[in-house]
């Protein structure tokens, strides 16, 4: 059967058409054209994008939880409104990204189902707990700092809806890192107890933040193809290095110590060289063995489950009160 099919003239012609299409597709990407939802795209491109965008969306939604943990305990009203606005932004970013993913033909309902069933991944950073107020500072400074580093190149991603979502997200996130650093600055200029709180937060968030860039290039499975498709613009290690180089002086300004005894400045390369990253921890957290994996998913499941009757009620109400198709002219 197999050889027969291959030998048939129709199959050979189809193969040729397929490889031509692939070439044309790659040529469009090489010319920096944007791919739009209804354009032809290789199935592998669609799948890679879908996985990446969904993972990104899930990260935003799960990411609301560790910071949300401190909204009710923010130590001033100014800090409280800032944190609410920030967590709210993350919800918005999740929405933009789910919308981008939906253009690839999978509904948000299905994507959320994948998250809640534990099949989908999200950034493992959100499986760490927020134990003190300083963690809110450290997350803004380090986690958002790392996220921005990752996200800015995605504004030029080859897939139009994803690139446009990222433009909006990056614009909105520009205050996130600054508010985090401001918290760290206030703490580090505060009482001894506050300084200790800030140092402890840096100690706990430093390494997980470096791991946010993903495994080193040598062990990254998707990098080469994703770079060719311009879904990814820089390698994990390049971005990680950039992050370390900008962040270490910021820590020095705070008077806090980066928890890496091997960290040194390489004069000739003009880079900071970090000590080895403990990838076993990264893989353990990714596998579900992080400190809060269970709590995060349970919180999402609880919210989704508790909201079901509400969503059903709204749908039932809409059904009963379906408005006439052209209620008011747009103006």
């Amino acid at each position: 059967m197999y050889t027969q099919a291959l030998d048939s003239p129709e199959a050979a012609a189809a193969d040729e058409r397929e490889s031509e299409r692939l070439e044309r597709f790659q040529a469009r990407i090489d010319r920096d054209e944007k791919i739009e939802p209804k354009d032809w795209m290789p199935e592998a491109y669609r799948q890679t994008l879908l996985r990446q965008i969904a993972q990104h969306a899930h990260s935003e939604i799960v990411g609301m939880l560790p910071e949300g943990n401190w909204i009710t305990r923010a130590p001033s009203l100014r800090r409280k409104v800032v944190l609410i606005a920030k967590v709210q932004d993350e919800g918005g970013h999740g929405m933009y990204l789910y919308s981008a993913a939906e253009t690839l033909g999978v509904s948000r309902g299905e994507l959320i189902e994948q998250l809640l069933s534990g099949r989908a991944k999200y950034s493992s950073i959100f499986n760490y707990p927020t134990l003190t107020w300083a963690d809110i500072g450290a997350i803004g400074w380090l986690v958002d700092g790392a996220a921005i580093m990752n996200q800015i190149p995605l504004c030029r991603c080859s897939y139009g809806p994803y690139a446009r979502a990222m433009v909006r997200i990056c614009k909105e996130e520009s205050f996130h890192q600054r508010q985090g650093y401001e918290i760290m600055l206030t703490l580090s200029r505060g009482s001894a107890a506050q300084r200790a709180m800030a140092q402890d937060a840096l100690d706990r968030w430093w390494w997980p933040s470096l791991m946010m860039f993903g495994p080193s290039d040598a062990h990254s499975v998707h990098t080469a193809q994703s770079m060719r498709w311009k879904i990814k613009r820089f390698s994990n290690d390049e971005l990680r290095q950039k992050f370390i180089d900008v962040t270490v002086p910021q820590a020095e300004f705070l008077g806090l110590a980066v928890p890496d005894p091997d960290l040194r400045w390489d004069e000739s390369a003009e880079h900071y060289v970090p000590g080895p990253i403990d990838w076993s921890e990264f893989h353990a957290v990714l596998k579900g063995e992080g400190p809060c994996n269970r709590e995060r998913l349970e919180a999402r499941r609880a919210a989704h489950g508790a909201g079901r009757w509400v969503r059903e009620a709204a749908a039932a109400f809409a059904e009963k009160h379906r408005e006439p198709p052209h209620a008011a002219p747009a103006g």
């Binding site: 918005g92 919308s99 969503r311």
Partner: protein, 94 residues
Amino acid sequence: MNEDWVLYEVFIRSRSGLEHKHVGSLHAADARMAIEHARDTYTRRQEGVSIWVVRSSDIVASDPAEAEELFEPARDKVYRHPTFYAIPEDVKNI
């Protein structure tokens, strides 16, 4: 029971005098909710003064496969543009 709600596309007029521009999409059970969600999601930073929402399923789109026949025939009709016509520099107000 459909608890996933309907997908709407959102268009925002950013300032008085400008046209509505597509900004993204959202889910809502009804039109009023869609307007409210659009307001809460897409105008948090004073991005707009007017909102349109349209059910995504109501949008009719051109087919990218037909892009050549739809759009390329306009390419050589350069006489539709004012720069096509040579007028001596001495002639004013034209």
